[in-house]
Every structure is written in C-alpha cells, then in structure tokens.
C-alpha cells in the first residue's frame, strides 16, 4: 500500500523552541538522545556521554528528556496532517504515517502532495514557535510502499516508485530495524543488510525468532501494512472507561486511562494476542469526539500502551483549543491484532504476579491520594541515601535514571540483591532516616568546629546540639568531602560529611556546608 511518512527531524529538540543557532542536546541516563544541528556540527553524537558531549561543545545547552512534552507539543502538528486525509497513524512524536493513495489523487500526484504537505506542516510548526526553524529541521516527507520504507524514504525526502521499495531497502544496514538484540544476533550470523534478511524464508524466520522476527522480516521486505498476521477475526477487545465527573486534568484522566491500558494489556496477554496499532478515543461532556491511531514498531507492550495513552491525553487536554469540556469516556481499541507467537519474554519476573488484592489496594490508595500516593522503589546509583532509591508512582514505567556501576552485594537472607555501586557513596550500613535539620557542633573548648576550604577540620568535635540539648560525642569520622555539580551554579553543592556517635549510642551523618552544620541522616 502506498504510504506517506512525515518526519520532523530532531523533534525533541524542535519541541523546546530554542534559537536554531544555539547548540543543545537532550540527555537521558547521562547519554545524548537527541542533539540540535549546531551541536551535531560540533561533534555531538547520539549515545555520547554527557561529559564527552560537553567537552566537544562547551556551550552546549543541556535539556531534559521528557517524551510526554514532545508528544504534547506534537499534537497540533498531527492536527495539521489530518487535514490531508484520514488514517493518520502516529508512530512517535515526530513521525507520522498515513495512506497516500487518496490524498495523492486529490492533490494531483504524489510529488504535489509531498510538496504541499511539507509546506503546510512547516507552517503549522512555525506558527507555534518563537524562533525560526533551522533549514535542516524542516519537515521531511517520503512516499513508498509500506510505512517502514516510507519512513526511510522520508529521511531522504524521496518518493520511491511503486514496487521498488524492496530494492530501495535492500542496501540499508540491518540496525535500522531498531531492535538491538535481534540486530546483534543477525549481524553475528553474517546478515548485515535488510536485503540479506529479506531474502530469508519467512516461516523459518518466524520459527527461529518468533513474533519479533516476523515483524522485522515484514519491515525488511517492505511488507508491513499489517505487522501481525490475523489468525481469525479478533473478538471485540475494546476497553472503555467512563469518567464521572468528567476529567479536565491530565492526572485524573490518566488515572482512568492507565487503568484501561492495563486492562487492555492484560486481556491481550490472556488471549495470547498482540497488537501493533492502538486506537485511542475520547468523548467529552459536550459530545466532542477525538480519535487517534498510534502505531508501534513491533507488538505493543503494556508499558508502551500506557505511555501512548498518557501522551495522547496530555496532548488533547493541554491544547485547550481542541476540547471545550472534560473527558467523559476513554476507549482503547487494539488494531492489527495477531497471535503473540513467542514474544521473547524474560525467564522469570522477580516480583511475580501482583495479587489482585494488592492491585486493588494500590488503586484505592491512588484514588484517595493521587497517582503518587502509592509508589514503588527503584534502586539506583547515588552518593547519598536520598538518591539511591527513586520512588516512582506505582504503575509508571520503571527505569533507573542513574544506573550506577553493576555491583553485587549479598544482603541478609537467602536472596542476593544487586545494589549498584556509585563512586563516593557512603559505606554501608546506610542511614535509615534521611531528614535534613540544622545543628551545631563544638569542640572540647566550646568553639564552633569549622571546616576550611581545603577540608581541614579546626578541632575534634566534642558536643553536638540535638533537639535543643547538647550531647557528648564519643566517636567521629570525617571529613568526607563532596564537591558535586561544580559546573552548575544552581545545583552546585560542596559539603563535607562526618559520622558521629553520641554518648547515648545514637549515630548521625552530619554535613558542613558554608560554615553551617546539618544533620543529614540518622542511623536509627
């Protein structure tokens, strides 16, 4: 099927609306995920560590990674694309595919359609921006057989003649499939181009690589109108949620949305099905209806479904011009449903099945206190105990943003827990209560203990003030200097840490910063 792909290069950067002359890059987990044209020109590359990127380009503006924001700002662009025809499918913020045949006939040919769309979309983007769009950031439109070939054609701004897409794809390296595990395996098998992979027999690929292999094979052979082979007419799998009262705020709508997403994922998994497209529909209290189709590069995972639902709800609710009332109905409908034949899942899940009673209790608590009322703990790296465990609202995708060095430590009991090692972290045991309060520290002569700029302590601490009374210090250790984020004035922190034990046996983690003393944490 002739497909048109509309790509906005570097969308996460464009979404930030910075001046095009300023080099900027978006980081996640200390690695570049997107870099502006200027930054690329100074040698910043995707996947590069922050320190290296900043050494190549010292004036680099560091932006935070926020896919929800990218999706929200992309919503008006999708609306502009919808003016050209139905069957618009969003692959990710910055990339949309749609059927090309009808619109091409209407606009008098594929070349005319391509030029018209590029112009209209650039206008739509420019109207929401303060700064002009860099010429390299202009929208790119490509037409080919099937969404995958069209996407690659869009990168080059080309139209691939009908029936020649497979030839067009053949020389591309295998890694454009964006499935690192599969690509790695194929490369070691000597299959380095899409052409070589497409030449393999599909049933054999399926037998060896399961659903993901089948999807990759369809992409490589420009046969990806449907990613999954329907075995039978799928039953109605629509999941609907009614919101009473209608929700105007994203977090409230998302609470129902997340719930529906979970149910859809659970239903699909239970029936042994997978879907590659997701239709999200909302109806407001004023009867307005919005529908959007999301396409995934392979079978949707439950986290991916929830993420798309959140992006979409945020996009619709943030753009006030679109909806006049609160959302009353949310409907999720899977499309392109096929049997999930052997998706490569992990061998086991340490958490195991979350029992229904626990699920219900969490839903109840989140209903009472909001999504952040119930959280799960994600162990990550960090120097200070407050950084070493991130609390993530229950149900959100879990990803440690500070992975730390892999280190295995056995803790009490039979289960070995892997706690990441971080340079300069406190020695264990870790203090149990982390709560910063001011305090005072005096030496044996009654003078305030000070720490010099070179981290030299004026005298051994002898007494510490706690809850208004002075307590004798019987043992202490320190100073352990910490000079964090010296490159950033606002978050720069230079303190020296001490451990002290009082005469009553209570132990504390103290810190001295700018000549003031704090109790950072308590070893209760």
């Amino acid at each position: 099927m002739r497909t048109i792909a509309i790509g906005c290069p570097r969308w996460p950067i464009v979404a930030h609306d910075l001046s095009p002359d300023e080099p900027s890059a978006i980081f996640f987990a200390n690695r570049v995920v997107a870099a502006s044209v200027e930054a690329v020109a100074s040698g910043v590359k995707k996947g590069m560590r922050r320190r290296e990127a900043q050494s190549r380009c010292p004036e680099l503006e560091v932006l935070t990674h926020d896919p929800a924001r990218d999706a929200r700002t992309f919503e008006p662009v999708v609306a502009a694309i919808e003016a050209f025809g139905p069957q618009v499918e969003v692959v990710r913020p910055g990339l949309v595919v749609m059927a090309a045949r009808g619109p091409a006939r209407y606009f008098g040919g594929e070349e005319q359609l391509r030029a018209k769309m590029a112009e209209a979309i650039d206008d739509a983007i420019a109207s929401k921006r303060m700064h002009a769009l860099h010429t390299d950031d202009r929208t790119r439109v490509g037409i080919a057989d099937g969404p995958f070939a069209a996407t690659l054609a869009a990168v080059r701004g080309r139209i691939i003649e009908p029936g020649t897409s497979r030839v067009f794809l053949a020389p591309f390296p295998i890694r454009v499939l964006e499935d690192p595990a599969l690509c790695d395996l194929l490369m070691r098998l000597g299959i380095t181009t899409l052409g070589a992979f497409a030449a393999l027999d599909r049933p054999r690929v399926v037998a060896r690589f399961g659903t993901e292999g089948e999807i990759a094979h369809r992409l490589a052979s420009a046969d990806d109108d449907r990613l999954l082979e329907p075995r039978q007419a799928p039953p109605d799998l629509t999941v609907a949620r009614e919101l009473d009262p209608p929700a105007k705020r994203v977090d409230i709508a998302m609470f129902a949305g997340k719930n529906a997403a979970d149910e859809l994922a659970a239903t699909l998994a239970e029936k042994g099905l997978a879907c590659a497209k997701l239709e999200i529909q909302v109806v407001t209290e004023h009867g307005e209806e919005r529908t959007r189709m999301w396409r995934y590069s392979s079978a949707f995972t439950s986290a991916a479904i929830a993420e798309r639902v959140r992006w979409q709800l945020e996009g619709w609710l943030a753009d006030g011009a679109q909806l006049t009332g609160g959302i009353e109905h949310i409907r999720l409908r899977p499309h392109d449903v096929g049997a999930a034949t052997g998706v490569r899942v992990g061998f086991w899940n340490r958490r195991g099945e979350v029992p229904d009673r626990v699920r219900r209790a969490i839903a109840r608590v989140q209903g009472l206190l909001g999504p952040s009322g119930a959280k799960q703990a994600v162990v990550q790296g960090g120097r200070h105990p407050s950084e070493q465990v991130a609390l993530v609202p229950w149900g959100d995708p879990v990803e440690a943003s500070r992975p730390g060095l892999p280190g295995t430590r056995t803790v009490a009991g039979p289960i070995e827990v892997e706690l990441p090692v971080w340079p300069g972290q406190l020695p264990s045991p870790t203090p149990v209560i982390v709560r910063e309060r001011p305090t005072d520290l005096k030496d044996g002569e009654g003078n305030v203990v000070t720490v010099s700029g070179r981290f030299v302590v004026s005298a051994a601490p002898a007494r510490m003030r706690r809850d208004g009374a002075w307590h004798e210090i019987v043992a202490w250790a320190g100073p352990w200097p910490v000079d964090e984020k010296w490159w950033d004035e606002t978050t720069h922190r230079r303190r020296s840490r001490f451990q002290v034990v009082c005469a009553d046996g209570n132990a504390y983690l103290l810190a001295n910063e700018s000549e003031r003393w704090f109790v950072e944490a308590t070893y209760d």
Binding site: P355, A374, A412, P414, L419, I433, Q499
Partner: protein, 213 residues
C-alpha cells in the same frame, strides 16, 4: 534449672504447643527468640520504639517481605536503601508516603505486612481491630495504644568508628519485647543490627569484629 524427666516433659509440651501454634510469618534467626511464636503472628499490632526502632522494624519485616507484600505507610523520611540492606525485598514493597484513616484501612485489608507511623490516637482501636480481622501484621514506629507486642531497642553500641577515623560498620542493640497474653513474659536479646557483613545475628561475647575495621 530444670533437669531430667522434667525437661523431657517440657520439651514434649513445647512440641505440642508449637504444633498448635498459629501460622506465623518468618523472621531472621536472631530475632526468633524475641517473639512468642518465633515469628510475626498475623493479626497482631506491634509497636517498635527506642533506639534503632526503624532498623528493627525493617529487620522484623525482612524475611516476610521475600514472599509477602509489604507496605510502608506514612514514613516519608525512611531510606529504602537501608531497608534493602537489612534484607527487605523492595520488589514486594509499596510505599505510601502520606496517610489517612482510609489509606490505613485499604492497606491493612490487602497487605501481609504494614510498617507505618503510629495511627491517629483516636482511631487506634479501630485500626487494631481491622488488623486482627484481616490477619495483617502491623508494625508501628512509635507509641500505639493497645498494641499486642512492644519492642524496645536500647543501648546501641557502634563499632568501626573511632576518633576521627574509620566509619560506622556494625552495631549491637539490646532488645526487649513484652506485651499482652502470650507475650506477657518479657524477652531480652542482644543482636548485631547489622554486623560487619551487613547481617543480623545474635550477639555473643566471643563474636569478633573483623580485624580490617
């Protein structure tokens, strides 16, 4: 001191009693002598106080958290890394930083073990009743009226730290438990919480501290 047939009879009586004893959630070996049933009895409210109370609560919940779901309620300042080091399996932990009576009720209904701040005084008896009814284990940090069991830590002694050098490495803690009914007789023990290897072990006079410290 009991000797001869008397001890045998006592042993037999204990065996029978343990067979009749209710199902309990497991705790680390060093803590077993402190509990009347050698484990956490479902339906009981336990208040933990004194020195090292937070570590003690985590230590009591650690074994159970490997198989049971644990909620940490109304304790926004606890460092979960420390809980993890004491053996709490964070994969089975849900953290509820804020709390209301409704939250208490929802959590007690569903979770096997709940570690919480003391419930509001006026609602304490209602919450205790709910714990009994749902066979939950509630460990509160602080005074809780009508608790079934009271655990008090005292005389913490830290090892590994000296005058300006070393670092906190190990601690011993004296623990006393007392309570109502089956727990009426007070029990005492001194434990390492944790020892130099990060484990919870009974303290015996001969326990050497690793020379490296």
């Amino acid at each position: 001191m009991l000797v001869g047939p008397m001890t045998d009879r006592l042993a037999a009586a204990i065996t029978t009693a343990s067979q009749l004893a209710p199902r309990v959630l497991p705790v680390a070996g060093a803590l077993q002598p402190l509990l009347p049933d050698g484990g956490l009895r479902p339906g009981w409210t336990t208040q933990v106080g004194g020195a090292g109370a937070t570590s003690l609560a985590f230590a009591f919940a650690a074994e159970a958290s490997k198989t049971s779901w644990t909620a940490i309620v109304g304790l926004p300042h606890v460092a979960l890394r420390a809980a993890s080091e004491l053996g709490v399996d964070l994969d089975h932990v849900v953290v509820v930083p804020e709390t209301t009576v409704d939250v208490f009720a929802a959590v007690i209904d569903a979770f096997d073990v709940v570690i919480s701040c003391p419930p509001p005084l006026r609602k304490a008896s209602r919450i205790n009743a709910r714990v009994r009814e749902r066979d939950a284990v509630l460990l509160t940090l602080g005074a809780t009226p009508d608790a079934d069991l009271t655990v008090v830590g005292s005389s913490p002694r830290w090892y590994g730290i000296d005058d300006g050098h070393g670092h906190l490495a190990a601690r011993t803690l004296d623990i006393t438990t007392s309570g109502r009914r089956a727990a009426a007789r007070p029990r005492h023990a001194t434990i390492w919480l944790p020892d130099a290897d990060g484990e919870i072990r009974p303290h015996t006079e001969v326990t050497p501290i690793r020379a490296a410290l």
